[in-house]
Structures are given as structure tokens and as C-alpha cells.
């Protein structure tokens, strides 16, 4: 009597283990498939970004020879959370992708700097998760357009009120910490450019 009970318990436990094992394997396979799709999409996105960089550097390229075109035209430097794409051509330009901590989230910024004139030519927020309507306004044109052709030889200053010192832009009211985060990120990236291009 006792033996059969034990046997029954053993059988039930075996069934449970097999069931969980099979389920876990199926789920893992599904997730591996999902991850491979995601990695493919990431690689695609990276390539599109690199094409954008070549376009801003005005380097001609073709779809087939893209990798060699890119490597001939661009020199990549990495520094912690920032990647610099220096142009090897005549125009002394550098494209920068930098990540930094905002108030809630990681902010990714793309910018193109003219090293000769020390001016920002292009500035885009690639992604962020800041408060919509407050810090989230860093992606709006009125904020980003302030940086274009700005004299940044002394870095960027995001201020409440402008005082005619070069390099100043208006902060977003109600989003002081996000504004400061953007300022810190940009200045770090620009410091990097200054030290690397010498």
C-alpha cells in the first residue's frame, strides 16, 4: 500500500518535471527566434545611421560597396558612451552619437560638428523617455534649432535667460534637469572632439 502511494507520487513528479522541461524549451526556442529578428533590425538601423553620416559628409557611396566606402571615409573613435565618426575627407567634420542619463531615462543624441569653425551643423534626439510635455520637449525643433550654427568654442550653456555670452541657448521651463543633462552630454562630447582632433 505504502509502496504504491510512493510510486504514484514519483510518477506525478516525473510528469510535472517533463511538462515544465518541454514548456521551457518551447518558450526558449520562441524567444531565441524573436531575438534573432531583433538583432537583424538593430543591424539594419545601424546601417541606416551610417548612411546618414556619409550623406552629411557628402561622400558618395553605393549600396553594394557601402562597407568599404564607409571605412574609407570615416574613422571611428569610441569613448565610453560616445562614438565619434571623424571624416577623413577635406571637410573637417565629425558625427557623434552620444548617450547620457536624463531625469528618467537614457537620452541618445546625434550631432554633426564642424571642427574648423567649431559649430554644430546638425542635432537630433534619437531617442529618450523623458516626461512628455516637459523634458520630452527636447526633441522639438524650436529647442534643437537653437544649437545650429552656435559658437561652441567654449562649450554649450543652457540657461534660463540669455546674457549675450556666446554658446547660450534657452532651457526648457519646467524641465531643468533634462535641460542640464543635455548640456552635460553635449559638452562632454565636444570636449572629446577638442582633445581628439588635436
Amino acid at each position: 500500500m505504502k509502496v504504491t502511494k510512493e510510486k504514484k507520487g514519483m510518477k506525478e513528479e516525473l510528469q510535472m518535471s517533463v511538462f515544465l522541461l518541454v514548456m521551457a524549451t518551447l518558450c526558449t526556442l520562441l524567444l531565441a527566434f524573436g531575438n534573432s529578428l531583433y538583432q537583424k533590425a538593430l543591424a539594419e538601423r545601424e546601417k541606416e545611421l551610417r548612411m546618414d553620416i556619409l550623406r552629411t559628409f557628402q561622400v558618395p557611396f553605393t549600396e553594394e560597396t557601402f562597407f568599404s566606402d564607409f571605412n574609407n571615409a570615416v574613422e571611428i573613435e569610441k569613448d565610453k558612451r560616445t562614438t565619434y565618426y571623424f571624416s577623413r575627407g577635406e571637410s573637417r567634420q565629425v558625427a557623434i552619437i552620444t548617450a547620457g542619463s536624463g531625469l528618467w531615462s537614457e537620452i541618445d543624441i546625434f550631432l554633426v560638428v564642424d571642427i574648423g569653425a567649431m559649430e554644430i551643423q546638425e542635432l537630433r534626439v534619437l531617442s529618450h523617455g523623458e516626461t512628455p510635455g516637459l523634458g520630452g520637449r527636447i526633441e522639438e525643433d524650436w529647442f534643437l534649432d537653437q544649437f545650429i550654427d552656435l559658437d561652441i568654442s567654449d562649450g554649450v550653456k543652457i540657461v534660463m535667460e540669455r546674457t549675450n555670452v556666446p554658446g547660450e541657448v534657452d532651457a526648457i521651463s519646467g524641465a531643468t534637469r533634462t535641460s542640464n543633462a543635455v548640456m552635460i552630454m553635449l559638452n562632454k562630447a565636444l570636449d572629446g572632439v577638442a582633445s581628439m582632433s588635436q
Binding site: E12, M16, L20, M23, C27, N35, Y38, S127, T131, P132
Partner: protein
């Protein structure tokens, strides 16, 4: 309303959509409802994600209900739900990267959304797939509509826009309070009060 003959599936649907509305009646899934309702687009995407995961997981659990060993059913729910949630997360990351970033960790946290475990344990494990699908469709749409009405108020008054389109004019000064999670508590409390009043006053319901 009660007199009209309804099929069982439809009545399960209405039951979960309105009488047992996850957010306003049962106050489940509040964490995400407070966090992501700052604008309508995020709320819509979140609602659809939850609905999709809910329907898939309920269907699978309902189909497997006879072979899921009772003692490990909760682990099985977790395993299935988390797999489907991560798949939805991948899909959002691939096709809607900005929205995915704005939702942040809350897509992953659908796993711990009480609505999913609740419907799995209370309904799907006992009922055939058709009823489970109707039930989860009701719960999912109920959740989506609830967070949409929350988001509508918050986005309209907080930013003056709906779905990112400015409707209250450029001069509208946003109510910053509504944009932070504590503002969501006020709106949610107001809606729960409203839902209770409607249910008490206008619907004489025969409790079975």
C-alpha cells in the same frame, strides 16, 4: 439590458469589459495605468500589447488546461506570459522604437500585470478556449479604454494635445501636475468615482 438573451460568450465579454473592469472596478494593473498614461499614443500601444498578450496567453492556457499539472500551474502561467510579453517587446522594439523607448520598462512589466495572472487563474484554466478568448478580449479592451480615458484627460490638460496634435492652441499652459504620476492618481480617483456612480444609479443588475 438584462432581459435581452445573450450568448454565454458575449455575456462573459461584457462582464469583464464593464462590470469587472480591471482598472476602475477591480483596481488592478494600476502601476502601468498611472505610469504610461501621459499621452494617448503610449496608452493605446500599451493597451493593445496587454490585450494581445492576454488573448494569446488565455487561449494557450485554456487549450492546455487538461495537461497542466495543478501543482505547477502558476509557474506555467508565468512561463507562458513572460514569453509572450518578451515577444511583444521585441515586436515593439523592431517596429515602433520611439514608443518602445517611451514605455520603457513597462512593457516588460506587463508580465507582472495582475490582470494577466488574474484572468489565467480565475478563468482560462477552467473554461474552454472560446469563452477564454471572449473573457480576455473584454478584459483587454476594458483595460485599453480605461487607460485611454485617463490618458485623454492627462494629455489634453497637461499638454493641450490629443495624439500629439495640438488642439487647445499654442498659448495653453500645460498643467504640469497632470504629467507626473501623482496627477494620474487624481484623474484615476475621479474616474473610479464616476464608474461607481454610473454602476449604482443607472444599472439595476441582477447579481447571480
Amino acid at each position: 439590458m438584462g432581459k435581452i438573451a445573450k450568448s454565454r460568450g458575449v455575456s462573459y465579454f461584457i462582464e469583464s469589459l464593464w462590470y469587472n473592469n480591471a482598472t476602475f472596478s477591480m483596481v488592478l494593473g494600476i502601476c502601468s495605468a498611472l505610469a504610461i498614461t501621459t499621452n494617448l499614443l503610449n496608452a493605446l500601444v500599451m493597451g493593445i500589447s496587454v490585450t494581445v498578450v492576454l488573448i494569446i496567453s488565455s487561449t494557450v492556457i485554456s487549450l492546455l488546461r487538461s495537461i497542466i499539472p495543478e501543482r505547477v500551474r502558476i509557474i506555467t502561467f508565468m512561463l507562458l506570459i513572460s514569453t509572450f510579453v518578451i515577444m511583444v517587446d521585441f515586436i515593439l522594439k523592431i517596429y515602433l522604437p520611439p514608443v518602445s523607448k517611451a514605455l520603457g520598462p513597462y512593457v516588460g512589466l506587463i508580465i507582472t500585470n495582475c490582470i494577466l495572472m488574474g484572468r489565467a487563474e480565475a478563468f482560462a484554466i477552467k473554461q474552454p478556449p472560446y469563452y477564454s478568448i471572449m473573457d480576455s478580449l473584454g478584459s483587454g479592451i476594458g483595460y485599453t479604454l480605461s487607460i485611454m480615458v485617463l490618458a485623454a484627460v492627462r494629455e489634453l490638460l497637461g499638454a493641450g494635445s490629443l495624439f500629439g496634435v495640438q488642439v487647445l492652441g499654442e498659448s495653453w499652459a500645460g498643467w504640469g501636475l497632470l504629467m507626473i504620476p501623482s496627477g494620474a492618481f487624481f484623474v484615476l480617483g475621479f474616474y473610479i468615482m464616476l464608474a461607481n456612480m454610473i454602476q449604482k444609479r443607472f444599472i439595476n443588475r441582477n447579481v447571480d
